[in-house]
């Protein structure tokens, strides 16, 4: 990315320095060797975890469709005693976290996927699939007749299972490819990381998001190609909004009291996403991000593991350190998303376009004021 010959006046924004940095072609995260090591290392680990999450989300969407008691939904069809014991031992991939993210997307909606799920076309497709699934099951037919809204909502949820699984498939491959390029010496800076992610997003932007489920040997299209759902607009952008920014108040060390107006009245004002998450409570029981950090711990590359061991607490606070690195990496992904959606090229010399870009960046920065972005400007994990 090239530095622009800016003729713009100085910004009054509290995060003006970061705006200038973006305009210079850099990223939200400062470019420093330790940051590159942390970001690439954690994205490699995240890539492995997303791979597992993606496979499981697609498995649930495809094979646990309207299964009322999906006891073995995390087993990907391979139910054995050793796997069951490992599951109970909890030294496993915490697929629950993937479901938290799926539910965040379902809750916040956004994009054409959300709108499509409220169309008559979807309702007809869902009812057809439900009727096929409940054939010969009078009990469930009776329950469905009593609560007609229940199973269609389950189908909507299944659609999000599938959409997130497809989205993470692309992201997993992209992050693992980034790690391979880093290992080959091709990635040496934070802007290079951002460019790799941006290129990956652009390349996959038009990939269709579809979902077909097989019931008794007959395929049922839940999200048909005709719906026109695509990777970037209908999965990536709603995902960033739902998971990076909004999310929902997780249980944790802070108790939110909605009646005391500690939770915003509108969901669009929610700021509980990964870019805002406090890493310090990570590791506590009932703190969902702990699950993701626990999962990533299994796949840390050696260089990153050694980097963490050099910290004051060594291995003891590794999940907090992972969370810190993960937030840094997510600011890189956010930079890529931000750049990908820029109204005009970053290196434009047109003053009007520069002003539009400046306003665009300031609107992003408004949302970052309360985020962890100011905390990651210094090169240490908090």
């Amino acid at each position: 990315m090239n530095m622009i010959a800016s003729t713009l006046p100085a910004s009054n924004h509290p995060l003006a320095e970061i705006i200038y940095r973006i305009e210079r072609g850099e990223a939200l995260l400062p470019d420093a060797p330790d940051n590159v090591l942390e970001v690439v290392g954690i994205l490699k680990s995240y890539g492995h975890v997303l791979d597992a999450y993606s496979i499981n989300l697609c498995y649930i969407a495809d094979h646990q469709f309207l299964v009322l008691f999906p006891f073995f939904k995390y087993f990907n069809g391979d139910v054995t005693l050793p796997k069951l014991l490992k599951h109970w031992w909890h030294d496993r991939i915490n697929y629950e976290f993937a479901e938290y993210c799926m539910k965040a997307m379902l809750f916040h909606g956004g994009g054409k996927l959300d709108r499509y799920l409220d169309t008559p076309d979807f309702t007809a497709r869902a009812q057809a699939a439900i009727a096929a699934k409940l054939k010969g099951n009078p009990v469930m037919q009776g329950v469905t007749a009593a609560f007609p809204g229940f199973l269609p909502e389950q189908v909507r949820q299944m659609a999000y299972y599938s959409a997130l699984g497809q989205f993470w498939r692309v992201m997993s491959d992209m992050f693992l490819a980034l790690s391979d390029r880093y290992d080959r010496g091709e990635i040496q800076s934070i802007p290079a990381v951002v460019k790799h992610v941006l290129d990956g997003l652009v390349a996959a932007a038009a990939n269709p998001i579809t979902y077909t489920v097989d019931i008794h040997g007959q395929p049922f299209e839940i999200l048909p190609p005709e719906a026109g759902l695509t990777f970037l607009a209908d999965a990536a952008v709603p995902y960033v909004e739902a998971v990076f920014f909004r999310s929902f108040p997780f249980m944790g060390t802070i108790s939110y009291n909605a009646q005391a107006r500690q939770i915003p009245a509108g969901v669009e004002d929610f700021t509980y996403g990964v870019l805002y998450a406090d890493p310090i409570p990570v590791g506590g029981a009932g703190i969902p991000p702990t699950l993701l950090m626990q999962d990533m711990r299994h796949y840390l590359p050696d260089y990153l593991h050694k980097f963490y061991q050099q910290g004051v607490r060594g291995e003891e606070d590794i999940r907090v350190q992972i969370c810190g690195s993960f937030q840094k990496s997510m600011f890189c992904v956010t930079t890529a998303a931000m750049l990908g959606l820029m109204p005009h090229p970053l290196n434009t010399s047109n003053p009007e376009e520069q002003v539009t870009n400046r306003h665009y960046l300031e609107s992003w920065m408004n949302r970052f004021i309360e985020s962890r972005l100011p905390n990651v400007q210094i090169c240490e994990v908090l």
């Binding site: 406090d278 310090i280 409570p281 590791g283 004051v312 060594g314 590794i318 907090v320 908090l382």
Partner: protein, 508 residues
């Protein structure tokens, strides 16, 4: 065997104190640890060989020393002193183990801790009043230096205050001892010979008042307590452990041994007043603890309150309450030692003990979750939660005292409730909530810092579940030292008595 408990650490203290300073400091530490480990083993052997059915002192050793003064080297142990001898060895070992390896002037430090152990053990074992007094004064010197040299910013003030108070305590006790011998015309200061003399009530009362004030300073009882919070705050963690765990018990031990047993008639007269004094101490300690913001001061005031329970039990002087008093001495020794150890770890990692500043230390990765969990165990034990030793001791005290002093006992029970109040405040403020950014990069807690508190927690829970393991040593003795009094309500024993305890016959 009893002499070995005194002289092994004494010789080791001399050796450590006089060793060339060019030797590695680790030698001083290891030698001290080995020495006290030996005394721990000897104490254990003593407990095994101790005849729990025998109310009189056992393992007696007598050597003439200065006959003209009536001073003989006479040692013995009974059910009152045996648990205290054991806890002294145990806590001294833990204090040595918890001392920083890079402590300044290590040779002097370890020698003084060993001398402190000698003084306390000697005082518990002495069967001669003057010998007790010598040991009682002996422990004062090393403790003064341990606070004055290795203490906090105001260590000079705290050490001097401690010295003045406890020196006064010693003078009063010596005056009482001299008085009882002169007034009775006893042939010497041997405990048994003094105990068999007859003294009129009018002479007993002033002597008992001297004893009460003397040991009241040491316990300490309100309003003689003001040296203790200062001493605790300024003392280093291992010294606070010894101070709370063992040294305060010299006061309550003295009260039972030289107050209740030497002056039973006067005791019966003053007992209602003592029970009221106990209530004042309990409630004052508890209410003052609530107001504290320094963790160490809070535990120190808690000590003042909990020592009041012992005075209440001693005032009631029923077999059950006296057993409760011994239990409370050991229970408070273990629990307060544990709490001081944990506060010490918090202070060493965060640099503060201010509960208005500390927060969120239970954080699982960046805080000190095990230390916090142990603190919760410690405060539960201190508040008398069933299943731990604090419950047994407080239950025995209250159950034993209630028939004699019902109102005072009920008021003291409020103190137990208040213990939960101030310690929950401490735990809630310090350990719960979000870890502040200023404490988000604390150094890790080492296992060597966790182990002493874990060991104490195990003992506290074990004796909470199986109190008879300790009661069997003391029950016969505490039953035997019951003073002759009319109309004391009979309370059934909570633990099976091995056999019918003999009725005390040695009275003044």
């Amino acid at each position: 065997m009893l002499s070995a408990l005194i002289w092994i650490p004494a010789i080791a203290a001399l050796f450590v104190g006089l060793s060339p300073r060019s030797w590695p400091p680790a030698i001083a530490r290891n030698l001290s640890l080995i020495t006290i480990a030996i005394t721990c083993l000897l104490s254990g052997a003593l407990a095994i060989q101790f005849d729990a059915l025998e109310p009189l002192t056992q393992f007696r050793e007598t050597l003439p020393w200065i006959e003209s003064l009536g001073l003989t080297y006479q040692l013995g142990v009974d059910g009152l002193s045996l648990p205290l001898v054991i806890i002294n060895s145990l806590l001294t070992w833990i204090a040595l183990y918890s001392s920083p390896k890079d402590i300044q002037r290590p040779w002097l430090y370890y020698a003084l801790v060993l001398f402190l152990n000698v003084g306390v053990t000697g005082a518990f074992l002495a069967q001669n009043l003057l010998l007790f007094f010598l040991f009682y004064e002996l422990e004062l010197i090393p403790l003064y230096f341990l606070i004055a040299i290795w203490g906090g910013a105001r260590r000079g003030y705290a050490a001097t205050k401690f010295l003045i108070y406890t020196a006064l305590s010693g003078i009063l006790i010596l005056a009482a001892f001299l008085g009882v011998v002169w007034l009775t015309g006893a042939p010497g200061f041997d405990y048994d010979s003094v105990r068999t003399q007859i003294l009129p009530l009018s002479s007993q009362i002033p002597l008992l008042v001297l004893i009460l004030v003397g040991f009241g300073i040491k316990i300490p009882l309100v309003p003689l307590h003001t040296w203790l919070p200062d001493a605790h705050v300024e003392a280093s963690t291992p010294i606070s452990v010894l101070l709370a765990g063992v040294l305060l018990k010299l006061g309550t031990y003295g009260l039972l041994r030289y107050g209740l047993q030497l002056f039973p008639d006067a005791w019966a007269v003053l007992a209602p007043g003592l029970a009221i004094w106990a209530v004042v101490s309990v409630l004052y300690g508890a209410f003052t603890a609530i107001a504290q913001t320094d963790m160490k001061k809070m535990v120190a005031y808690s000590s003042i309150g909990h020592m009041g329970f012992i005075l209440l039990a001693a005032a009631a002087a029923t077999p059950l309450s006296l057993l409760g008093a011994v239990f409370q001495m050991i229970s408070h020794g273990l629990i307060s030692a544990m709490l001081f150890l944990l506060v010490g770890v918090v202070y060493s990692k965060t640099g503060t003990r201010d509960i208005t500043v500390l927060r969120g230390l239970l954080n699982p990765e960046r805080g000190m979750p095990l230390i916090g969990s142990l603190m919760v165990v410690g405060v539960m034990a201190s508040a008398g939660i069933p299943g731990m030793m604090g419950f047994i001791s407080e239950f025995l005290v209250f159950r034993g005292s209630f028939p004699v002093f019902p109102v005072q006992t009920l008021l003291s029970m409020i103190g137990t409730g208040l213990t939960a109040v101030y310690f929950l405040l401490l735990v809630n403020r310090t350990f719960f909530g979000r870890l502040p950014d200023q404490f988000s990069n604390l150094p890790p807690v080492l296992w060597s810092e966790r182990l002493p508190a874990i060991a104490l927690a195990i003992v506290i829970v074990a004796l909470g579940l199986q109190p008879s393991w300790m009661a069997r040593w003391s029950e016969t003795t505490t039953t035997a030292i019951q003073p002759p009094r009319a109309a004391i309500a009979t309370v059934s024993h909570p633990f099976p008595t091995p056999s019918t305890a003999p009725t005390p016959t040695n009275t003044l």
